[in-house]
Structures are given as C-alpha cells and as structure tokens.
C-alpha cells in the first residue's frame, strides 16, 4: 500500500507541490555534492592501500566521524573491489560464527552453521573488501566471533576466498564507550594504522575540493629485488637485535597496540617488500612497519635501513678520491666511523692510508668538526713503521678545531671549579 492511496483526492494537488519542492531540494543537494578533487599525496591512504594489497588485516584506529569510511570507499574504488560494510555493533555473534540450524536428525547430520547473506554474496563474488566497522562498540561475544572472521577468514561454515581483503575500524580507548581493547595475541595479528584528520584537507574539502590520492602501484620488474631487500633488512636487523624478535607488551600504555613477534616481523617483511616494490616513501614505510611491530622496534628497523644505505666502507676505501659521502652530518660521521672500523678490522698500511684519503675527501665536501672523532680513531691505529701520509697535513684545520674545543672545555671546567671554591669559602 503506497501513501498516495491514503490521501483524499483533493490532496493530490498539494502532493504534487510537495513533489516539486522536493525536486528543488534535490537540485540543491546535487549542487552540494558536486565537488572536484585535486591530486594530493596522502601517506595514510598509501599505507592502507599497501597493507590491503599485502593481504594483511588492517585495524584503523580513529575518533568517530573522522573519515575512515570515506577512505575505505575511495580505497575500494581505486582497487576496483566491491565494498561490503558490516557494522559489528548491530550484529549478534551468530551472524559471524554461523546460525545453528536444527535439522531433522542432528545426531546424524550434525547442526549446520548457516552463514549470513553478506558472506554468501562475498563468496559468490569471489573478491571484495570487507569492512568491519565499529569493532570497539560490539559486545565481547560479537568481537570474539568477529576475530575468527578476521584471522581464519571463516564465516560459519563458509571460507572466504583469497580475493577478499579485510579491514577493521575501532575507536581509540579514550573515546570508546565500552573501552574494549585487543588482547596482545589479537593485537599482534593486525597492522595498526592511526587515522587522523588533516585540518587543511578538511577545510579545503568542505570548500568543494577533496584530495585524490595517487595510489602506489607495484612495479613488476622490481619484485625480486624488493623481496631480497626486505629479507636482507629484516634478517640483518634481527641478527643484530635478537631480543626484539619477541617482546610482549609489558605496560598498561602499550596494551592493545602493535608489538614484535615472529608473526608481526613476517608482516613487517611483507610490508617492506610491498613498499619497496611500489617505491613508497620512507614515511609510508614508517607508518606500516611501526603499525606491524610497534613504535620502538619499528623505528629501530628504520634506523637500520638508514644504515644499510650508507656507502659500503670497503668501496670507499677502494676509491677514496671519488667517494660519495652522505650529506647529513650524523650519517656522514657514521659512514666515516664505519671506514675506520673497517681499517681496524684488517689493519694494513695501504688501507690505513686510503682511510686518511677518505677523511680528506670528507673535509673537502663538508664541515670539518665531525671528522675529529674518526680522525682520532684512525690515528690511534698507526703502527710504528708506518709514516704519516702527506694528506694528513690537510687535516691540520681539524686538529686546530679539536684543540679550540678542548681549550673551551678546559675553560668551562676551570670556571665552574673557581665558582665552586668561592662558594665553598663563603
């Protein structure tokens, strides 16, 4: 029964007037919805895309109303995947674990767990983006059932096909009404991304221009190289820091977040390979790696990547004249210290001399003060029968600088000493 049959005949004229009013309203709405986009790099979205492409479950943390759903819509459109949104808090546990249906003879047939419609449709489509929203406001039983969907990709008796990617969203503890939090084993399975809004993007978007992120795409030629790089990075790092392989979160502040374990290191390795193959920026890699293994271990791995990119000390020693040293002071000093360490590991006169040549090269291309420590260390490696190479004379300025600094430290200590004695006398 439609509403028009209820209206008396005389009211149909006013009904058509309402109709035209609605048409005008729709025109206004259409105008409001006409927005343009501009290309704008978006690191969050790039990280999300890479993690989804890598088929790792992603958990978006963010305050309500911040645009997580909008981001997911854009992601689904750009990956050309149908989006299925399931709002966890309005469902019952059986909607995810399957509805038990009592048949004629349960002892013979068993009780089948019937999956809900959205799952059946996802399986029929074979591919899609499953977005589990409002994870943190669902009851614990619903969450427990949902985690099986996320981890085992199972809804009742149905197995979700590999073409289905899963993203979940939760409100941070501070704003979550029920304060649900992930237990460490569950937190360990997600890549945690923290969704924040950019003031500029929001203001500009409300003005009619939304950003359009350039989504990273994987370069087929770079795949083997990316895998080799990621393996070398993670294995080399864990060899140097074995204590970071597995570390349960121990304080209340770190609960519910990412933490390092063999599982999450594997995720980090996968993400690193995907990021490299897509030529993603360091910021995006940082978001992903920190989201997989946690802030501390993630930052340490990134620092390790920085070190991996330092020039190889042996090739610097082989050809000091054309050595390319990093421009940043702290990295440059690290590279020079690596050179000195390489000389110290196999002290030979020729290597010692080319070590000095590398230092001279560094002096010619940058500031002198960071040469003091490596030069002192290199000088200490001298054997009695080695003559000081001529090149060292060009480092005289560095020695002068070191002397100036020493004198200044001496003055400062003397002044402090003098002040202490006068105070004591008083």
């Amino acid at each position: 029964m439609t509403s028009s049959t209820l209206l008396p005949a005389s009211a149909s004229a006013s009904a058509s007037a309402t109709g035209t009013r609605l048409v005008v309203a729709e025109d206004l709405l259409a105008l409001l919805r006409t927005t343009t986009t501009e290309p704008r790099p978006d690191e969050q979205l790039e990280a999300l895309t890479l993690a989804v492409a890598a088929d790792l479950p992603v958990l978006l943390w963010g305050e309500p109303g911040i645009g997580k759903t909008a981001a997911l819509t854009q992601l689904a459109a750009s990956l050309d995947l149908p989006l299925t949104t399931v709002i966890a808090s309005v469902h019952e546990p059986t909607d995810f674990s399957g509805l038990p249906i009592v048949g004629d003879d349960p002892t013979v047939q068993g009780v089948p767990m019937a999956p809900p419609q959205w799952a059946v449709e996802l399986v029929r489509a074979g591919r899609g983006l499953l977005f589990l929203d409002e994870l943190s406001t669902a009851t614990p039983a619903v969450q427990a059932a949902l985690l099986r969907v996320v981890l085992e990709r199972r809804v009742g008796a149905l197995q979700l096909p590999p073409g289905v990617r899963i993203v979940a969203a939760a409100n941070p503890r501070a704003s979550a009404a029920d304060g649900w939090e992930l237990s460490p084993p569950l937190a360990n399975r997600f890549v945690h991304l923290y969704w924040v809004h950019d003031r500029e993007v929001v203001v500009r978007g409300l003005g009619g221009i939304w950003p359009r992120a350039e989504l990273p795409s994987l370069v087929p030629e770079r795949l083997p190289e990316a895998v080799a790089y990621a393996r070398r990075a993670v294995c080399g790092f864990l060899q140097a820091r074995p204590t970071l392989i597995h570390r349960l979160p121990n304080t209340e502040t770190r609960r519910g977040g990412a933490w390092p374990s063999p599982r999450s290191w594997e995720a980090a390795l996968t993400l690193l390979a995907f990021g490299t193959a897509a030529s993603a920026s360091r910021e995006v890699l940082a978001l992903l790696v920190r989201g997989a293994v946690g802030d501390g271990p993630g930052l340490e791995l990134l620092a390790h990547l920085d070190r991996m990119e330092l020039p190889d000390p042996e090739s610097l020693l082989a050809d000091p004249a054309s050595a390319e040293l990093p421009a940043r002071g702290d990295l440059r000093q690290a590279a020079l210290e690596a050179v000195v360490a390489a000389v110290g590991a196999r002290p030979q006169r020729a290597r010692w001399e080319s070590g000095w040549a590398v230092l001279v090269r560094a002096l010619e291309t940058g500031v002198p003060d960071l040469l003091v420590a490596p030069a002192t260390a290199l000088a200490a490696l001298r054997r009695d029968d080695w003559e000081v190479p001529e090149a060292v004379e060009r480092l005289a300025g560095v020695i002068g600088l070191a002397r100036l600094a020493d004198q200044s430290v001496g003055r400062a200590t003397a002044a402090a000493e003098a002040r202490r004695t006068t105070e004591a006398r008083r």
């Binding site: 019952e92 059986t94 940043r328 002071g329 500031v367 300025g397 100036l404 200044s408």
Partner: protein, 401 residues
C-alpha cells in the same frame, strides 16, 4: 664558522649522548637571525655577528639549547598548545618560546656547559624547576617578561611559528618527519642504553619521547571496564533465554542479549602514606567507571584496609565513605576480606601506593591495581634494606600520578 664548529665539538664532548642530534643539524648562516635559531626541519640558522662576540664555551651551551628544542618536539607541542587554547599572534609565540626555554634551561647547563648570559630561567617568575613547557604556559602569564625578552627568538623549532628567514619544508638539507623521528629515537635509545651519563631530565625525556604517559583516568577506566566486561559479568550474549529474534526464524537457535552488571570491590590502602586527595579522586573515578560499565551504585563496595581490613561498605553515595585507618598496610587482608564478601565481586580494584605485601596466589576474579607512585628514595628507617614487592603479574597495574 670555525668558532661555531669548535663549539659544537665542545658540546659533543661534554654531552656525548647528543652527538647524533648535534651533527644532524644543518648550519645556515643568516644575518637576519637575532642569535641562533632552529626550524622544524632541523636547520640551524646562525647570525655571524652573534658568533663573533660570543665565547666558544657559551656557544656550546647555545648549541645544546637549540638542539633540545628539536629533540623535545617543542614546535609540535607548541602548535598543539596554540590550537587547543586558540592562542596565536606574536605575543603568544614569545610566551611559548619563553616557556620552552624554561623547560630546557633548568636542566641542561652545568657540568662542562656554562649557562649563557641571556638564558631565561623559571626563577625569573618564581616558578619551580623541572616543569614541562605546557605547565609553565598554564601557570604564568609571562606578560611581565615579554617586554624585556622581545629579542628572544629560537625559531619555529621552538614554537611552531614560521619565520621570514626560514627555508621551509621544501628547502635544501631539511629532515622529513621520519628522519627527525629516527634521529630523536637514536638519541633516546643512546641515553637509555647508558643511563649513567645523562642527567635525570634527559633520562625522563628518553623514557617518554616515544611513549608519552597516558592520562591515568583513561588507563584505569580501560582496565576496569575490560575486567568488568569479561565473561560472567557485563553486557554480553547468552543462551540462558531465547532471543526475541527467535520467533522470526524457526529452527534457528539464537542467543539473547543479557546484562549482568559487574560487582566491583574497591580495596583502599588507608595507610598513612597515601593522601586523602589522591584517594578521593581515584575512588570517584572507579565509581564513575563502574557506573559507565553498567554497574549500579549498590554493586560497588569499598573496603578500607591498613594492617587489618575494615568492613565492606556498599557505595551508595560517594561522599559519605568513611576512610578509616592509618599506619602500616597489609593488602592481603583486604583481598581476603573482599573475596569473603557475598556475593563475590567480579572485579577487585586495589588503590595503593604499593608499600605492601601482595597475595601469593591469584584471586579468582579480575584484579586491577591503581598504583600511586612513590619515589624510590623513600627508605624505611627501621629497615633500610626493605624494598616493597612490585605488584604481581596477574594484576593489571595503572600508575596514578
């Protein structure tokens, strides 16, 4: 330039743990800078005139001062403060700069690093040392100082406000956010790795740089709520009665939503070492949390506990709880008392300063400990070797400060 670099070496020599950060700074010579200034991208702008008439040892202090602005993320914090309090404009910028300087200057000098003549100290406004920039900003107007210190300018690295001489995010030799984090992280790890070398202020910074302390209210709330919503209590699905949906789907078994409010028992350490104000605020918090988690007021009971446990008092009105006790503490009696009460609590929340023995076995319900931190130097006079046990691993511990 030579003098400036010698000063950097001086700084590295007396503060070796800051070497990485000091060397990561890129020096830009600029005559329009009043003295020395940093921007958020780790460039250091230097006035040649200032270098010429400042002794090397004082320049070393300025180096450490400027790099401290960057390490302590004063630009990010300054911007956040400005946004939260809607305080913009040159006067406010100066206020933030002064507050940031207070935070730095009260603990970086000395020990081989003389304090430069113009360094501003919290003493100027009769403020205590050791506070954070935000606390200084909240406590004092600093308007009296502003006129005298208008020349003071540490650049956008100190307050997040761009200056005309700065090269901006796209200029040469800047560090991006990830690189800045990496440098800060390495310095923090260096300090944590060799804690003996760095003073207290830097050690605290290193501990908190990448794990800022969360407000205890939220942590306590999350702990109590997650304990209260565990199986057996709270709002959850159960098969005890059929769901209302069942009528619509014959042949299907559905659970229904049932609410079992959690019974929370708060054991309060009323020994002399915990102040009434601390207890009051923590207790009100627990009551509010358990109400939010679905509990009724009559389901929250309170046991005050010193050497012996008092009686469990139902919390009907938060105002009239009588906290009896004083003297030594033995929380074990409090736990025993809580577990003896009928019906048994689903959650025990212990509020204590931790100067107590703990039960040897895990109680048969969730346990949350709200811990009032006490300085490690508090020594028992009768028994100087006495060190209180740390809370047991089965309890979730929230530090209340």
């Amino acid at each position: 330039m030579e003098k400036l670099l010698a000063a950097r070496l001086h700084a590295v020599k007396v503060r070796p743990y800051l070497a990485g950060a000091l060397f990561a700074l890129h020096v830009v010579e600029d005559r329009s800078v009043p003295t020395m200034a940093v921007d958020a991208h780790w460039r250091c702008y230097v006035s040649p005139g200032f270098v010429a008439h400042t002794p090397v040892e004082e320049l070393a202090g300025v180096w450490v001062h400027e790099v401290s602005h960057l390490l302590r993320d004063h630009h990010g914090r300054g911007e956040r403060y400005a946004r939260e309090h809607e305080e913009y404009g040159p006067g406010e910028r100066l206020r933030r700069n002064i507050a940031a300087d207070f935070e730095i200057n009260d603990d970086i000098y000395g020990d081989g690093l003389p304090r430069p003549a113009g360094a501003v100290l919290p003493l100027l406004l009769r403020l205590p040392d050791g506070l954070l920039m935000e606390e200084y900003l909240r406590r004092a107007s600093m308007s009296g100082l502003a006129a005298d210190l208008a020349w003071l300018d540490c650049g956008s690295g100190a307050d997040g406000h761009d200056r005309p001489w700065e090269l901006g995010p796209d200029g040469a030799h800047g560090l991006n956010k990830q690189q800045r984090d990496a440098v800060r992280f390495r310095v923090a790890e260096g300090i944590k790795g060799r804690p003996g070398e760095a003073p207290e202020g830097w050690r605290r910074w290193a501990d908190e740089a990448f794990h800022p302390p969360q407000p205890w209210r939220q942590l306590l709330g999350a702990a109590v709520r997650s304990a209260a919503s565990a199986s057996g209590a709270g709002e959850d699905h159960s098969y005890r009665r059929p769901s209302r949906r069942s009528a619509a789907v014959p042949g299907v078994l559905l659970p229904s939503l049932r609410r079992t409010p959690p019974r929370v028992c708060v054991v309060i350490d009323t020994s002399g070492s915990v102040s009434d104000a601390e207890l009051g605020s923590a207790l009100l918090e627990v009551a509010a949390i358990s109400r939010a988690a679905g509990g009724r007021r009559d389901l929250v009971s309170v046991i005050s506990c010193d050497a012996a446990a008092g009686i469990a008092v139902p919390l009907c009105r938060a105002e009239n709880i009588e906290l009896i006790g004083g003297g030594g503490t033995d929380l074990r009696s409090g736990f025993a008392r809580a577990l003896r009460s009928r019906p048994r609590p689903d959650v025990i929340v212990a509020l204590t300063d931790g100067q107590t023995p703990w039960p040897s076995a895990q109680p048969p319900c969730r346990t949350v400990v709200g811990l009032f931190p006490r300085p490690a130097s508090a020594v028992n006079e009768q028994n100087p070797d006495y060190a209180p046990d740390t809370p047991p691993p089965w309890a979730r511990v929230v530090t209340i400060s």
